[in-house]
């Protein structure tokens, strides 16, 4: 028996629901969080109970509050990283693809080389060289992911560039900037939307990973990856909650953006085939 669940709309819907909830959570963190993110209590490493639904960590801080604030940090870094690398990647990709030829080759070769290198390690290297801290981490992730955006935008623009109406535009003497801004970019917009959303997924995962490895926002600011790393120390004494819950939060956030991005992808495909 086949269950005809339309894949696209459902994925998109779930994605939207999750992302909207997270935005809500992040925006109203101060009101939703039961405790401060750095409020020390005397209850060290208590398992989940009524007062602390997710337990407390080794310093007596409420984990639920920490992950709510931590979500804000992660989403913040993700947004910053995607904003920077998205802008640069799209612009450079567009220029490179539009002009083609030697310029394109000159830019593509280094981009491809960096692309084939593990992005996390690139980000790690850059973050290390810049020194730690939130903005540096975001910058590091941004730089490491520029080639991804570059590649996708470049291929999109290559395909759009060959369309006949562009040739017609050129024939009537339209300027280059006009063509790029008024025709080519809008044609890519839907794909770019899903690209950026999926980029958020990668950026947040990367930020958490770097936090886990000890690069990034220094304590005591809550950061999901760093908290998970801290929480690992308590594992052997049987405390699972300091490591499981931060990771769960990362998972939910990333899942939301993942589904949103993939849902958008499906939407783009559907629109293309039904036109």
């Amino acid at each position: 028996m086949r269950i005809p669940i339309p894949k696209g709309p459902l994925t998109l819907l779930v994605g939207i629901v999750i992302v909207v909830s997270i935005v809500f959570l992040v925006a109203f963190a101060d009101f939703l969080s039961p405790y401060g993110s750095n409020e020390f209590t005397n209850e060290i490493l208590t398992p989940p109970n009524v007062a602390h639904p997710m337990g407390t960590d080794a310093l007596g801080r409420d984990i639920l509050s920490r992950i709510i604030y931590g979500a804000r940090v992660s989403v913040g870094i993700g947004l910053a990283a995607v904003a920077i690398s998205g802008t640069i990647g799209v612009v450079v990709g567009a220029i490179s693809a539009y002009y083609g030829g030697k310029l394109d080759r000159a830019i593509s070769i280094p981009m491809d080389s960096i692309y084939s290198f593990p992005s996390i390690i690139t980000a790690l290297l850059i973050a290390y060289s810049l020194g730690g801290g939130g903005p540096n981490t975001a910058l590091a992730i941004a730089i490491a992911w520029i080639p991804s955006y570059f590649r996708v935008v470049r291929s999109i623009i290559f395909s759009v560039k060959e369309l006949t109406f562009i040739e017609a535009e050129k024939a009537i003497g339209a300027g280059t900037i006009y063509i790029i801004t008024r025709h080519i970019l809008p044609a890519c917009l839907p794909s770019i939307a899903s690209l950026l959303t999926l980029g958020m997924r990668d950026a947040i995962l990367a930020a958490a990973g770097l936090g886990f490895l000890g690069i990034g926002i220094p304590p005591p600011t809550p950061e999901l990856g760093a908290d998970l790393s801290e929480g690992r120390r308590a594992l052997l004494s049987g405390a699972w909650w300091p490591s499981v819950f931060p990771g769960l939060m990362i998972f939910i956030i990333v899942l939301g953006f993942n589904m949103l991005g993939e849902g958008l992808n499906e939407l783009v495909k559907l629109r293309r085939t039904t036109r």
Partner: protein, 319 residues
């Protein structure tokens, strides 16, 4: 490509704002110490001279000395690298095999509940941070159920004689059954965790390809010939669908290396990934540089290998 990454590493590590020497020694270090270390590392020379020395040292095999206990960088790396290689190969293998299997099942059950479940699972799998999955595995299989050891590559009492450095292989080569069981039990979880990262895209591609291939005319012909379904599946459908899987697996190899860094940290495996992670934490400049460069070489080698494999598997490709 390697050359570009090598240059990039140089640029990043020496030209970016932020003083690596100061970072290494901490904010309280006296100026003479800082200058001495800077001179020691050759960082006080003009940039082009530095670049020249950098390239020369790389090629000649002198990768410097670690700031921690003065160990030779290249020695440390070559000692630890085989374990990372082992982890990577195991994960690649497990991930690809499971991915192909899962993808095929999804394709043959297209549209049914199992297919949707599998697709949901792949979304979930790709969204899970590796280090979290690792911790979950440790909790469930290691601590709660007590089935598998949660850290290290082998227990000291069961260590095989080191032949290649790939511990499981070494235990096989030296016919050491106890070591074999021990190393395998240590490596199961990390490989599975890292394998998920490969399994998801492989399953997705496999599913797509199988669906496409099963629609082809030659499948219809094979069935019309009266061939048993199993033969149709394996001899025709599967073989043709598998090709893009190799490309995908190869593409994700570099991501696998990145994941290895995290996985090795979670499971305390003494491989190169964890070496990089701890060097970064300890601000060990030469070691960080060495590790990243070695990764670059690895990725370059892997890409070449994938190209060659692809040419080998699909004889239609001629160069």
């Amino acid at each position: 490509m390697v050359l570009i990454v090598v240059t990039m590493v140089f640029i990043v590590m020496r030209l970016l704002p932020g003083d690596p020497v100061r970072v290494m020694l901490g904010p309280d270090a006296p100026d003479e110490t800082i200058e001495a270390l800077r001179h020691n590392l050759g960082l006080d020379q003009p940039i082009l001279t530095q670049f020249f020395f950098y390239l020369r040292e790389l090629v000649s095999g002198n990768w410097g000395r670690s700031l921690i206990q003065g160990r030779s960088v290249i020695q440390e790396i070559t000692y630890r690298f085989p374990l990372t290689l082992e982890l990577t190969l195991l994960s690649m293998g497990i991930g690809t095999l499971t991915g192909v299997f899962v993808g095929t099942i999804a394709a043959t059950n297209q549209g049914k509940a199992l297919d949707h479940l599998i697709r949901l699972g792949s979304f979930a799998g790709y969204s899970m941070p590796i280090f979290w999955v690792g911790v979950l595995f440790q909790l469930v299989f290691g601590l709660s159920l007590g089935l598998l050891p949660i850290s290290g590559a082998v227990d000291y009492y069961a260590e095989p004689t080191r032949v290649t450095g790939l511990l499981i292989l070494d235990s096989l080569l030296t016919l050491n059954g106890k070591a074999f069981l021990n190393t395998v039990s240590h490596m199961i979880m990390p490989s599975m965790v890292l394998g998920i990262y490969i399994m998801v895209p492989v399953a997705r591609i496999m599913r797509g390809e199988m669906i496409k291939v099963l629609d082809e005319d030659y499948i219809l012909t094979a069935r019309a010939k009266g061939l048993p379904e199993r033969v149709v599946m394996y001899k025709h459908a599967f073989r043709n669908a598998v090709l893009p899987v190799i490309t995908v697996a190869g593409l994700h190899f570099s991501g696998l290396l990145g994941g290895a860094v995290l996985t090795e940290t979670v499971f305390s495996l003494p491989g190169m990934g964890r070496l990089l992670a701890s060097s970064v934490m300890l601000r060990d400049f030469p070691m960080v540089q060495g590790c990243v460069l070695f990764f670059a070489l690895l990725v370059g080698a892997a890409n070449t290998l994938v190209d060659m494999t692809y040419r080998f598997v699909d004889p239609r490709i001629k160069y």
